[in-house]
């Protein structure tokens, strides 16, 4: 056997040296003018699948030579990993209607994304649809590799029944300032109406900070986690937001153990950080109210985390002119309205409430989310984006959730690492 292995090693070495040459020809001569059939992946939640099928059927009915074949994004731990693998394998679809902005810098580095402003009307279309918020979606090279599509501006949902049982005002809950939030949380837990005041996932995945720290940080500062290549979270405002959560964990108002299931739906937690998707999910199951995330002194917040998903066009796509047209069709006023109707998620449009007045008149529950949608804060589009979030999450887990070490020092240490990562090191 050893002899056989020795014989085969040179073969392996030759193969490796071929790999090491790094690259080959270009991506098959795909051009932005080519037209023909394309493939699309959309999200796998039932409401978006229904919208996606309807959108594709409408397109296909009038474009027989540019047929769209659509499917749900293949199953995986996260859509980012599935898309990343598909880029490497060269079998990504033309469009993915579920591209997370935090993953865009990585996909771009892989050479997996088409710059949308390379289309003659690309920049103009993006700007007219998204408005001032578009700048948050620009890549470090100044180009746009994603179409901001729909947001889920994060707010605080609360359970009115549990608030009443705890002797709190369920119609006008005191949740505006950090102190109010803490006092209300203490009353909720002390009264025994719920095990937790609020139960964000206390786990280590890089994206979990989007649903605990980041909305509060965004509301307080109106800033992204990283701006101008510098970490912002170790500022006095960032430390204050982290200290609020630290107190929540120290006092057992937020558990350090993850909940298997939906703690809010099961009445184990009296509050939850959610987007407008929650309106249809909880519906009449929970008597809920919604308020903006708190700020330090209770003044109106400067923003909230968008929980946005974009549409990306992938370089494996041959018929890019068709893909661009489908992208514009799927994000046009008619389809955006249907998306809003079907899912309650907010299309990334400047004129959202005025574009669909009848919808918001008949869906009062969504109005507050629509107002928040006007000033959402995105995950920063910087090199090593996912590593930056993981670095922050590790420090947060240690100092905030498990209360180890000095909180400001730990966040400042993480900020130093993040600064280097944001430089592309």
């Amino acid at each position: 056997m050893k002899k056989a292995l020795l014989v085969m090693l040179p073969v392996a070495a030759l193969t490796l040296s071929a790999c090491g040459s790094g690259g080959g020809s270009d991506s098959g001569g795909a051009s932005n003018d080519a037209r023909g059939p394309i493939t699309v992946w959309y999200s796998n939640n039932a409401q978006e699948v229904a919208w996606g099928k309807s959108m594709v059927a409408t397109w296909n009915a009038t474009h027989p030579k540019e047929k769209v074949t659509a499917q749900e994004i293949p199953a995986g731990k996260s859509s980012e990993e599935v898309i990343g693998a598909a880029i490497t394998a060269g079998n990504a679809p033309c469009l993915v209607l579920n591209t997370a902005p935090a993953a865009v810098p990585g996909f771009q580095k892989q050479g997996g994304l088409v710059a949308l402003d390379d289309f003659p009307d690309g920049k103009q279309y993006l700007q007219s649809r998204v408005g001032d918020r578009l700048s948050q979606y620009a890549s470090p090279d100044g180009k746009y590799y994603q179409m901001p599509w729909k947001s889920n501006p994060v707010m605080i949902f609360y359970n009115k029944e549990l608030f009443k049982k705890a002797g709190l005002d369920a119609e006008h809950p005191k949740l505006a300032s950090y102190q109010d939030f803490l006092n209300t949380s203490r009353k909720l837990v002390k009264s025994g109406v719920a095990k937790a005041a609020i139960w964000p996932a206390p786990t280590s995945e890089f994206y979990q900070s989007w649903f605990d720290f980041y909305p509060l940080f965004a509301a307080q500062t109106g800033k992204q986690l990283v701006e101008d290549g510098k970490a912002q979270f170790a500022s006095p405002e960032g430390i204050k937001a982290a200290e609020l959560w630290k107190t929540m964990y120290d006092e057992g108002l937020a558990p350090k153990e993850s909940f298997n299931g939906d703690s809010f739906a099961e009445g184990k937690a009296a509050m939850s950080t959610v987007g407008p998707w929650a309106v249809s999910v909880y519906g009449d199951k929970v008597k809920w109210g919604a308020v903006p995330v708190p700020t330090a002194d209770g003044t109106a917040g400067k923003g909230t985390f968008s929980d946005e998903k974009s549409i990306g066009m992938y370089t494996s796509c041959k018929n890019r002119a068709t893909a661009w047209d489908v992208m514009k069709f799927a994000t046009g006023k008619e389809q955006d309205g249907k998306l809003l109707e079907a899912t309650g998620q907010m299309p990334m449009r400047t004129d959202l409430t005025s574009a669909y007045p009848s919808y918001f008149a008949s869906h009062k529950d969504y109005e507050a989310f629509a107002q928040q949608a006007e000033h959402t804060i995105e995950a920063p589009n910087v090199p090593n984006s996912v590593e930056i979030w993981q670095t922050f999450r590790d420090a947060y887990t240690k100092a905030v959730i498990f209360g180890k070490g000095d909180l400001p020092a730990t966040l400042k240490g993480a900020a130093g690492k993040v600064d280097k990562l944001a430089e592309g090191q």
Partner: protein, 320 residues
């Protein structure tokens, strides 16, 4: 073989001698390549191809990646993949998270491997006796091994969360923070879980070894007045030493590749990184964060360490 050897190195240096030497060398090379029965190579070649595709190539590629700046790209994208020497190794060896993951896995192995060896040998010895419902017990111990980790992890979370059955049974003696969120207890809990889950496989290995131990040895020992414990210590343990070596190496190798359990049981390596394993870090660095070169360096270090540990086992257990 010896005649070929003497031909090759014999004193003849003339033209005729040189011709014979060349022929001999060719025969020697053919012999090395094909063995005494060249047709045998034909039969093993599918396996060799499989081995090359599944083991040799990926391992070689991983080593190559660890010495280059490498990230995954779309086909056809031209990027430099410069040789960076030991940069990736320096990066991971100066990273406290990497050191912590190796320390975590050391804690895991120190608990899991002895527990696996002792529990599986004792259970196999018990199941080798004439017991009522022996087949039932053998099956019962094997079921967790063939059940998907995802399924049994759910049961363990139900048992070991703060309101779980274990804490309810322990009452005031329950640890605070609870098992899976306690930075001192999380990894031992994972280690016990893995030992329990894999026990069935190792029991089967020991059972097959025990069934090859001559019964005459036990009968002779009984005649000489040896008790059950003495027989276990003086006959069973030495007789199954090759199986013990196999169990040790397999438990160490599978333990060093720990991923699923901390990923699912402790939600991605928590609490506060107490159950992060090197393979979990490889997944994060390589697939989530786009640094497969650093992930490869962690993998190579892991392979070297586990190979060294396995060689120590072998030397220790085969010294007789």
């Amino acid at each position: 073989m010896s005649s070929t050897h003497s031909d090759t190195h014999g004193p003849a240096r003339g033209k005729r001698g040189a011709g014979r030497s060349t022929t001999a060398r060719r025969q020697l090379w053919q012999l090395r390549l094909g063995g005494h029965q060249p047709v045998g190579m034909l039969f093993v070649s599918p396996y060799l191809l499989y081995l090359a595709a599944i083991f040799v190539y990926p391992l070689g590629f991983a080593v190559w990646m660890s010495f280059h700046q490498y990230f995954f790209t779309a086909p056809g994208v031209k990027v430099d993949r410069p040789f960076v020497g030991l940069d990736n190794y320096t990066a991971v060896l100066t990273d406290p998270d990497v050191w912590r993951s190796f320390l975590n896995i050391a804690v895991f192995l120190v608990i899991n491997v002895p527990l696996t060896v002792v529990a599986s040998l004792v259970l196999a010895s018990a199941l080798n006796q004439k017991l009522r419902y022996r087949s039932f017990f053998r099956t019962a111990y094997y079921i967790p091994y063939v059940t998907a980790s995802v399924a049994v992890v759910g049961v363990w979370i139900f048992l070991f969360n703060s309101n779980g059955l274990v804490n309810q049974a322990l009452g005031p003696l329950a640890p605070d923070p609870s098992w899976l969120v306690n930075s001192h207890l999380a990894m031992p809990t994972v280690a016990v879980f893995v030992a329990w889950k894999q026990l069935g496989f190792f029991v089967v290995l020991y059972l097959s070894a025990l069934q090859n131990v001559p019964q005459e040895l036990y009968e002779s020992a009984a005649i000489d007045g040896a008790g059950k414990f003495r027989m276990f210590r003086s006959i069973t343990i030495p007789a199954v030493r090759p199986a013990t070596l196999l169990v040790l190496i397999l438990a160490t190798v599978t333990g060093a590749n720990l991923f699923t359990e901390p990923y699912l049981l402790t939600s991605g390596g928590g609490p506060d990184g107490a159950t992060t394993s090197p393979v979990l870090l490889m997944y994060q660095r390589g697939l989530q964060q786009g640094h497969p070169d650093q992930a490869a360096a962690i993998g190579v270090i892991l392979v070297v360490l586990i190979t060294a540990v396995s060689l120590v086992y072998r030397r220790f257990l085969e010294r007789d």
